[in-house]
């Protein structure tokens, strides 16, 4: 460790290692330009929600930054709008979706990764077929089913059609297939039964895929709009996206700052999840390609 240091390569690269200065400047300028376009609108939303009551949000008198920053809008949105109810409803749908998706897609993905049982082909066909139909082309029929089950205006009705998805089964299957056969053989020789091998060998090896499924499910449940809009009727049952859109179009003419505060609040959970598990978000993108 502490032997003669013969000045090896510098650990920190110098700027000129990254390319010609002119090219670098152009690159960073472009990066900042795209940053302005992509994050700008959301950042503006955040800044406007922090503006005090005397500041303009719109019109030529509006400045970009709040001169008298205040959290008034956030206090008011909680006072005047049942935001907690919306949040609770959204979380309810998201959490039971994650639970059911995880349990059922790991089980099915595990069995599908196994050779040696009759009917795998048939199951495969059913899974593939179920992915062929865009949600929008079957939502009429789905609504009729939900109605027949008496689940209109019920959060369970929002959750039910998506309680397990073929795509997640495929993601889990791919992850389980990657577990080396030799390890399973060894576990079997040691007397580990099906359940033990699943629980203590396969599940821990597939934690990456499990995270991807969790993240995908959370985001799609949290951000979903069309299906809750169809199923839910009363404000007590609204999810956050539904509540926000209703807030904006309601005739009460809410202070726009309140709506902005509400949208900022709705992004926070996803943003936190993203910061914690960033790598797996990106993994989820490429696994989405299996969708075809």
């Amino acid at each position: 460790m502490t032997t003669a240091v013969d000045k090896p390569r510098r650990l920190m690269p110098r700027w000129r290692d990254y390319g010609r200065p002119r090219e670098l400047v152009v690159r960073y300028l472009l990066l900042v330009f795209v940053l302005f376009i992509t994050v700008g609108p959301l950042l503006w939303q955040l800044l406007s929600s922090l503006k005090g009551p005397t500041e303009d949000v719109f019109g030529s008198g509006a400045s970009l930054f709040p001169h008298h920053p205040s959290l008034r809008a956030y206090r008011q949105v909680f006072d005047q709008v049942p935001v907690w109810t919306y949040i609770r409803n959204s979380f309810f749908v998201a959490v039971i979706s994650i639970a059911s998706q995880l349990v059922f897609s790991t089980m099915a993905g595990y069995m599908l990764s196994k050779p040696g049982w009759k009917g795998r082909k048939l199951v495969w066909v059913v899974l593939m077929a179920s992915m062929m139909f865009p949600f929008e082309s079957i939502m009429v029929s789905l609504f009729l089913s939900i109605r027949d089950l008496g689940l209109v205006d019920n959060l369970v009705g929002v959750w039910l059609p998506g309680f397990v998805a073929a795509i997640n089964v495929l993601i889990m299957r791919a992850a389980f297939l990657a577990v080396p056969r030799e390890i399973e053989d060894a576990a079997m020789l040691d007397g580990a039964g099906e359940w033990k091998r699943f629980r203590y060998l396969y599940l821990p090896s597939a934690y990456g895929a499990i995270l991807v499924v969790t993240i995908n499910t959370f985001i799609s449940a949290w951000d979903d709009f069309l299906w809750p809009l169809i199923v839910l009727r009363t404000e007590d049952h609204f999810t956050l996206t539904l509540g926000l859109s209703r807030l904006q179009s309601s005739s009460f003419g809410y202070d726009q700052r309140l709506v902005m505060a509400g949208s900022v609040i709705s992004v926070i959970p996803v943003l936190v999840l993203f910061v914690i598990t960033q790598r797996w978000f990106y993994k989820g993108v490429s696994s989405g390609a299996v969708k075809l």
Binding site: S130, F133, V140, M188, G191, D223
Partner: protein, 344 residues
């Protein structure tokens, strides 16, 4: 001990399987089907001499059951049911219904609002797909090089993907309103005298919604391309650069062929996605879908005609749903054919 097959292990094999102890079923010699199967799919026990098939044939089905039920009842059945319902005049809230034969379809083909919605959806795909194939690729090239702070930029470009369509829709709604930031700035810069009616002119609403879709999808497909770009050999770029090829020529002759397959995939995915657009129109054009419903897309129209609690006709909505599915299927087949031609 060496003869453990999948369900012969001494420990209860799975929940519910403990009732049968390993000794109760005598070892059966592998049948013809089993041997054939094993030769195709070598399993973990294929070399142990035991049967590769599960002795209790229902065991795998027990594990699969929830997924099979879910995908059948809420994936495959709804489509078949949609076909059936499209021949009826069922109401969204129930009650009696009659078989009406092909009435819904004849009505659909003569319905100018249906054609308008179809036009909007197709136009959406035609404009969004090429931009969605190209722009994220350029973005991916921009963030590909490992520069200081590049991780921050990548994450930042991804944030629109995280926010829900409703939130970004609200944001754009405020930006594009008559008093919004875009109009205010353009007025201040004396580019325009009067506010551009982004949110009241039906064409501008449609174009704004397309912009919103592209803006929200940029980060997602950027990551998608980033993975593909990693597979393009760096040496090709270097060799071409030595030969004096500029960056634009290298883009067309090295990068594009290298990520061609990804481009086809992105094209297919965004094409299908364009036909599914609903929230963008709802947020920018309002719950009517633009002035007089002029900006409604097919999903929007399905919801309007099929699911409205008072005036809705689920039968007609189902017929339009079938049209939407046919369009999606056509697009998928087209994309498959293009991909195949491209490969050969």
């Amino acid at each position: 001990m060496a003869q453990h097959t999948l369900d012969q292990a001494p420990v209860p094999a799975s929940p519910g399987a403990g009732a049968l102890s390993p000794g109760t079923s005598p070892h059966r010699p592998p049948g013809r089907l089993r041997r054939a199967l094993r030769s195709v799919v070598p399993g973990p026990t294929a070399d142990a001499g035991g049967a590769a098939l599960y002795r209790r044939w229902w065991l795998p089905w027990l594990w699969m059951a929830p997924a099979i039920v879910g995908t059948t009842v809420f994936g495959v059945f709804p489509f078949l049911n949609t076909l059936l319902v499209s021949f009826t005049d069922a109401k969204p809230l129930g009650g009696t219904y009659n078989l009406v034969g092909l009435d819904n379809y004849t009505r659909m083909f003569g319905d100018s609002d249906f054609w308008l919605a179809t036009r909007n959806s197709v136009l959406y795909a035609v404009i969004v797909v090429p931009l969605m194939i190209l722009l994220p690729l350029l973005l991916a090239i921009l963030v590909e090089k490992n520069l200081p702070g590049i991780g921050f930029f990548r994450s930042a470009f991804y944030t629109p993907v995280l926010a829900s369509s409703v939130v970004v829709g609200l944001s754009w709604q405020w930006l594009l309103s008559d008093q919004g930031l875009v109009n205010t700035w353009l007025e201040k810069a004396h580019i325009i005298r009067e506010a551009i009616p982004f949110l009241s002119d039906s064409w501008l609403i449609l174009l704004s919604a397309m912009g919103l879709t592209i803006w929200k999808g940029l980060g997602w497909y950027m990551i998608f391309y980033l993975a593909a770009l990693g597979n393009v050999p760096k040496e090709l770029h270097e060799a071409a650069a030595v030969d004096g090829a500029g960056s634009i020529r290298r883009f067309w002759h090295i990068t594009v062929p290298g990520v061609r397959q990804s481009m086809m995939l992105v094209g297919t995915l965004t094409g299908i996605g364009s036909l599914r657009v609903f929230t963008e129109i709802y947020m920018l054009g309002g719950s009517t879908g633009g002035p007089g419903g002029a900006d409604r897309t097919l999903p929007f129209y399905i919801r309007d005609v099929g699911l409205d609690p008072l005036t809705g006709n689920a039968g007609y909505g189902a017929a339009v749903s079938v049209a939407l599915f046919a369009l999606t299927l056509g697009l998928t087949l087209l994309a498959q054919r293009l991909t195949k031609e491209d490969e050969s």
